[in-house]
């Protein structure tokens, strides 16, 4: 075990200490004010989270791997031989024509698209073979041999649905809301908001990989919306040579000198905060300054990947060009989790547009290449966590904004498909070797144990010991669907 020794309890007191530290005469007043105004609307019986879990947590950290653009469930974790059988036929011609039930579409598809049903076209055969893997014998496609090798540690959920037929679904997967509704706190920010820090020298919500493009949520994909910017994810660059720009003031400055400045800065900013108790940005900036000075040394250390053995590097595929980049991200994610970072959001395929997995054409070359880039690193991460004894306390989530259509697009691609698709989870408290939920024979609709994206959020929060209802902020009414329901069936 290489966890830092900080316990959540210790951290709560840190948080308190932080609020009080060096505040001089302003401290009490500010504290009282924060309390009084409750950061929102002066609700009498409300106070912000104390950083403690609401019930006994199963895990300490989450590594959230998100494939941007929409990974085909049909060529990954949801084998549908019927697609080969009926290839070339329209859905209406198959015995499974009832999947086009318009009532379902009406209820679940939030779009103004008049020609939604035109999108489907003819069934497109599977572009890759499947085989049974592990003791559990779960079928995984041949594009995922390494992840397939870990299937006994994985629970696959094959019955996901979401309701944006376009890539706004990326944002939706993180906030639980259709982009038409606007911006909402993301899952990482809820965790940041709800739980105390495990390491005061590092941000507790880190984003690796290029953030989402503006089309699809942009930075809102890792932001905190009304929870306040201090709960936003902090993007870090996996660049062992230059992990943090402006990391040090250099030899021209004395450590004692900087400390004196930091102290004064904190006091001055706190005085200003008394004038502006509702200024969330100011609160966030105060915190980000505190963190910044500690990060000066802590962050470069995280990305010193050369500290790892060659064997570990190989495990993540860092020794090979195809897997190097994502391998470094996965390894960095482990190092961050190891150092107590609560939530590491890792993007693959973000390309400034719809995303690298968006295979409207040439699905075969697109997905085989993308899978080859991530399969080994992800499996490496799972194996590495396991051998270090970290897998029990780390929840790994693999997700994508939607699947891809059973019907072919053009001659070589598949369209977006939010009506039924797969995700998986592994690690802390997850029942490995499980399949949960199902789509119909064509992989079109999630038909059995259907789960909306917030059920994934609920599961993650559940494993961290958080109850999303207890995190609610007065004046920010959340709907039932925002809270979701933990997917108990995949929990050990």
């Amino acid at each position: 075990m290489t966890y830092h020794s900080h316990s959540p309890t210790a951290h709560c007191s840190n948080r308190r200490a932080f609020l009080g530290a060096g505040m001089g005469f302003g401290a009490l007043a500010l504290g009282a004010m924060l309390q009084r105004d409750g950061w929102a609307n002066g609700e009498a019986n409300w106070s912000p989270p104390d950083g403690q879990p609401h019930f006994s947590p199963k895990v300490k950290n989450v590594i959230w791997l998100f494939m941007v653009g929409g990974t085909s469930h049909l060529e990954s974790f949801d084998h549908k031989p019927a697609l080969n059988r009926y290839a070339g036929m329209s859905i209406a011609e198959t015995p499974h024509h009832d999947v086009l039930n318009p009532k379902f579409l009406e209820e679940n598809v939030r779009t103004l698209a008049p020609d939604l049903r035109k999108v489907l076209a003819k069934l497109y055969p599977l572009q890759v073979g499947f085989r049974r893997r592990g003791q559990s014998g779960i079928e995984v496609s041949d594009w995922w041999p390494h992840v397939g090798g870990c299937i006994d540690d994985i629970a696959v959920v094959r019955s996901m649905w979401t309701n944006d037929i376009d890539h706004g679904a990326q944002l939706q997967f993180h906030t639980g809301r259709n982009t038409l509704d606007g911006y909402f706190p993301t899952i990482g920010s809820w965790i940041h908001y709800g739980l105390g820090s495990l390491n005061d020298d590092l941000p507790q919500f880190v984003v690796l990989g290029r953030p989402l493009a503006d089309c699809c949520g942009g930075n809102e994909g890792h932001r905190a919306s009304y929870l306040g910017p201090q709960h936003d994810g902090v993007p870090l660059t996996v660049d062992p040579k230059n992990p943090l720009p402006f990391a040090s003031p250099g030899a021209g400055v004395f450590r004692q000198e900087q400390r004196g400045e930091v102290e004064l800065l904190r006091k001055l900013n706190r005085l200003t905060a008394e004038e502006h108790p509702h200024d969330a940005a100011l609160q966030a900036r105060i915190k980000s300054y505190e963190l910044a000075f500690r990060m000066q040394t802590a962050v470069p250390e995280v990305f010193r990947l050369e500290q790892e053995t060659k064997a570990t590097e190989r495990l993540y595929g860092i020794d090979q060009s195809a897997t190097k980049s994502f391998g470094q991200m996965c390894l960095s994610a482990r190092r961050l989790a190891e150092r107590g970072v609560r939530f590491v959001q890792v993007y693959h395929g973000s390309n400034g547009g719809a995303g690298g997995w968006d295979a409207h054409s040439n699905l075969k070359s697109n997905h085989s290449k993308n899978c080859a880039a991530v399969d080994k690193p992800i499996a490496g991460l799972l194996k590495d966590l396991k051998r270090r004894g970290m897998l029990d306390e780390t929840l790994v989530v693999w997700a994508t904004e939607f699947g891809r259509s059973p019907g072919g697009e053009g001659k070589t691609g598949r369209d977006h498909h939010p009506f039924g698709f797969s995700i998986w989870m592994a690690g802390g408290g997850i029942k490995g070797g499980t399949v949960h939920g199902a789509t119909d024979e064509l992989g079109f609709l999630a038909v059995e144990d259907r789960h909306y994206v917030t059920d994934v959020h609920a599961t993650v929060l559940n494993q961290l010991g958080l109850d999303s209802r207890k995190l609610e902020v007065p004046g920010r009414k959340r709907l039932d669907i925002d809270h979701g329901k933990a997917i108990k069936e995949i929990l050990a």
């Binding site: 009406e106 941000p203 021209g252």
Partner: protein
């Protein structure tokens, strides 16, 4: 011109319709009522109580309170109950007048007749989408009041919100300076403003700022975001994207804003400057908007970017969605996408010479022109450029739903446009260069003759002979260029010059004569070289290299002689043929882009003004009126402040599309000047409108990246105010003192400091994000820029404070005024006093000090005097203060 979009207004219920015995027509009679009064809250975009009234089926399914209608039983239908409710509190619709008796009767009858509607009820008609209908000014804006305040006031009163009063003068002053000029006020400006008690003190400041060249730089950067400014990028010296010297477009943006060029004119110049002012280099610069999309490897990507961003920037439409398929939300078919592309199909880029530089790699004017009117535009099947639908070539057009007329008229170009090397300055420079060559040859001959003391006999003769031949050849070259210029001018610039033929013959002769002289010179040079090689020299005689040189020269001489013979024989044949002065381009431009530009920059276009007003509003208030700033399509719900947006859009157009008019209107509103301080502020307001949607206070926000960097230099008194010119290497961002807008900004060539503060993404940046990450703290704390400028400023202020009685307090006070544009509070003063004492003591205690590792930042070093160094530290802290990067 544009056809009215308000089709449905014609079909509201009338008594005549009521009396008809025939069944009620849902589409014709019911939908219009619901659309006008109910959809806003019970439609696809906003579904209150989970109830939608936009389809009959949804009405039957109902919402939280059950079905809205029970077919056949109007008396049991909730819809009727709600619209006829006697209690005003509960009656629907909640705003405006109740439904008329006729309207209610229609609804009743329709329900009683079974609530019949087509099963596949069509989606809402996009023509009725709010943004696709022309904006109008609502009538009920009280005169004498700023219309912004009148309109916001109405909304606030409705909700019981009570706006905060005006912010303190120093807060407003800093706000307006940063907003309009991107720089905080100087201490002198601050003091002058606080002293000025006249009524129009604020207005004077606004006028000064709008007239300041700093304004164009500040807002130029905003529009560079929207218009996707990018310097060239590529691998080493190979350009892959955008254009060399595209900074000229940046300068055009800044100058245009400073002179308040009407926005409609700006659009025309950017899209079709070459057609509307083909010989005006100042206007041609504007076409950098198009040239910026140039992409080396793929014409389709280039044109796709052009289509996509023209539509997003000016129209707020996502045409790009329709590249592969019909737009899923908006009335833009896949064909429409390619029809928009057709406007750009003929155009390409080129670089024209600019005065003083004949090498266009060193300087030049990048611009666009129509090079090819013939290439047809085809729809690419599923967006695949390998599969053009060649059966159906598409001509330029815009979807009819947006109204307006496209009128493509070819533009005849003047000679200077299609033949840029015939422009006067180019010709002058060519002739000047030939003349200069001749002058040099004259000088060389004089020098050769002078040399006779040193060199004797044959060698001197040779040098003189060579120099004389050089004069001949330079003279002939000058004559040739002059003759060719005269002939070309007669041929292209003048209609039917009777001397044209004669001039052409003369040009031909002069050029061939020049060729003879040049060939003669070459022969002479080779002969001399051979003679030199044959001078007996022991060292060289047997040298292989020497032999090779002799052979080579002999060959060259033979070739030169042959060339001379050819030139001589050519010179005997009279001919009108001669070499042109440079490249010629088509004499006609298709006029397509001009037609498009005029369609966009048009008062009859429902989108253009609204989109621009929204961008401007967002940059004044930190939040737009329409959230999706580049998408005003049907997915953009009707904005909360639509009346305001529309009022401003019409106002903008009525005032000749003057941005400064709009800026002035906005910043002189009470809404703009409200306080943000909210310690004791309206808890009630906060409850009603926690997100400040109704602008009852000012939401504070962070400065943009450029403004942060510029402000650091500005408060230190070190900002270099030089304007314009070639882009500055982004690596100099920490040491150069120029404004940030002038630095190179391209793919992989961005200033790190700006990037960290959410600087513009090069690819597209219709709206900046405003993150708060620790990396920003490090950039402000550890950069050379902040160290150096705080040291310099501290020394300056220390000198000033030294004259005062209480030096320390004086220093702190002027430091606050200089950096944060306000005086310190007594608590702040106390803290800083203590800091100066403690920090100086700490710094004097040398044996207990340890430095950080790593290289010290370059530039000004810290003071050796602990007391002064403590002052430097204080300034450094203030540059890192939350309020330095915040606009309150």
């Amino acid at each position: 011109m544009f056809r009215p979009l308000a089709v449905f207004l014609a079909v509201t219920a009338s008594a005549a319709q009521l009396s008809a015995a025939e069944p009620v027509d849902y589409v014709r009679q019911i939908k219009p009522i619901l659309r006008e009064r109910c959809y806003a809250c019970h439609g696809p975009l906003k579904t209150q109580q989970d109830l939608r009234l936009d389809t009959a089926r949804r009405m039957k399914t109902g919402g939280d309170s059950g079905p809205a209608i029970t077919p056949g039983k109007s008396a049991e239908s909730l819809l009727i109950e709600k619209v006829t409710e006697a209690d005003e509190e509960d009656r629907m619709p909640p705003e405006g007048k109740p439904l008329s008796a006729e309207q209610i009767e229609l609804l009743r009858r329709w329900i009683d007749e079974g609530a019949k509607a087509a099963v596949d009820e069509p989606a809402p008609d996009p023509r009725e989408h709010w943004a696709f209908r022309l904006p109008v000014k609502v009538a009920d804006v009280a005169t004498g009041k700023n219309p912004i305040d009148a309109l916001l006031g109405t909304e606030m009163r409705k909700r019981g919100l009570r706006p905060l009063g005006s912010a303190a003068p120093q807060v407003v002053l800093r706000r307006i300076h940063l907003d309009l000029a991107g720089l905080p006020p100087t201490r002198e400006q601050l003091r002058a403003f606080l002293k000025d008690s006249s009524d129009d003190a604020y207005r004077k400041v606004v006028d000064e700022l709008l007239a300041s060249p700093r304004h164009g730089e500040r807002w130029g950067r905003h529009w560079m975001d929207v218009w996707r400014y990018s310097d060239w990028s590529g691998y080493k010296n190979e350009i892959r994207n955008s254009q060399r010297h595209i900074w000229r477009w940046r300068d055009w943006i800044i100058e245009s804003l400073n002179e308040d060029k009407p926005y409609d004119r700006m659009i025309v110049e950017m899209l079709a400057g070459d057609e509307v002012a083909p010989t005006d280099p100042n206007v041609l610069r504007a076409t950098g908007f198009l040239g910026r999309n140039w992409y080396k490897f793929n014409r389709h990507v280039w044109l796709d970017n052009t289509v996509q961003h023209t539509a997003k920037a000016f129209l707020g439409l996502t045409f790009n969605c329709a590249r592969c398929h019909d737009h899923k939300f908006d009335p833009i078919s896949q064909k429409d996408y390619y029809r928009l592309r057709a406007f750009f199909e003929p155009h390409t880029t080129r670089t024209d010479r600019v005065p003083g530089q004949s090498d266009i790699n060193k300087d030049g004017l990048p611009r666009v022109y129509d090079s090819d009117a013939k290439t047809a535009t085809y729809l690419f099947i599923r967006g695949n450029d390998k599969k053009p639908d060649k059966e159906h070539p598409l001509s330029p057009a815009m979807p009819a739903v947006f109204g307006g007329k496209i009128d493509v008229q070819p533009v005849e170009l003047p000679v200077e446009a299609f033949y840029p090397d015939l422009r006067k300055f180019v010709v002058d420079e060519m002739i000047g260069k030939a003349r200069e060559n001749l002058r040099k040859a004259d000088v060389a001959l004089a020098a050769a003759k002078k040399n006779d003391a040193k060199l004797g006999g044959k060698k001197l003769m040779r040098a003189v002979a060579l120099a004389e031949q050089k004069i001949k050849s330079a003279g002939a070259a000058l004559a040739s260029i002059k003759a060719r210029v005269a002939a070309e001018w007669a041929k292209y610039a003048e209609k039917e010059n009777p001397q044209a033929k004669g001039l052409a013959l003369a040009a031909g002769e002069a050029e061939r004569q020049a060729a003879v002289e040049i060939a003669t010179l070459a022969v002479l040079q080779s002969e001399h070289k051979l003679t030199d090689l044959n001078v007996p020299s022991k060292a060289k005689k047997d040298d292989k290299k020497h032999k090779a040189a002799v052979d080579k020269t002999k060959k060259a001489l033979a070739a030169a002689r042959k060339k001379l013979e050819a030139a001589q024989s050519a010179a005997k044949q009279p001919s009108e043929k001669y070499t042109a002065l440079g490249k010629q381009y088509p004499r006609t431009s298709t006029g397509r882009r001009l037609a498009l530009a005029r369609w966009i920059a048009n008062k009859e276009n429902p989108l253009t003004a609204r989109v621009a007003v929204n961008h401007i509003w967002m940059r004044h208030f930190g939040r737009p009126l329409v959230d999706s700033v580049f998408d005003f399509g049907t997915r953009a719900g009707e904005p909360r402040h639509r009346a305001l947006l529309d009022w401003l859009a019409v106002e903008f157009m009525e005032n000749n599309w003057s941005m400064k008019h709009l800026h002035r209107l906005i910043v002189t509103s009470a809404a703009y000047r409200r306080a943000s301080a909210d310690r004791d502020a309206a808890a009630a307001n906060r409850k009603i409108d926690p997100d400040n949607h109704f602008l009852w206070r000012t939401s504070s926000r962070r400065l943009e990246a450029e403004a942060i960097r510029d402000s650091i230099l500005h408060v230190a008194g070190r900002l270099d105010l030089a304007m314009g010119g070639p882009e500055i290497d982004q690596k100099l961002g920490q040491s150069s003192r120029r404004r940030s807008v002038y630095f190179r900004h391209a793919y992989e060539k961005q200033m790190k400091f700006l990037e960290l503060f959410d600087g513009a993404s090069v690819n597209e940046c219709y709206r900046r994000s405003e993150s708060i990450v620790p990396q920003q703290a490090l950039a402000l704390a550890n950069s050379r820029l902040s160290f150096e400028q705080s040291r310099l400023l501290a020394r300056k202020l220390a000198r000033e404070a030294a004259k005062e009685k209480n030096e320390s307090d004086a220093f702190i006070t002027i430091a606050f005024e200089q950096v944060l544009s306000r005086s310190p509070s007594s608590q702040e003063l106390q803290l800083c006093r203590e800091f100066l004492t403690d920090q100086a003591a700490r710094l004097a205690d040398k044996k207990n000090l340890t430095t950080f590792s790593g290289k010290a930042t370059a530039g000004t070093k810290p003071s050796a005097d602990p007391k002064l160094r403590a002052k430097e530290n204080l300034i450094h802290v203030l540059l890192n203060h939350n309020d330095f990067v915040t606009v309150r």
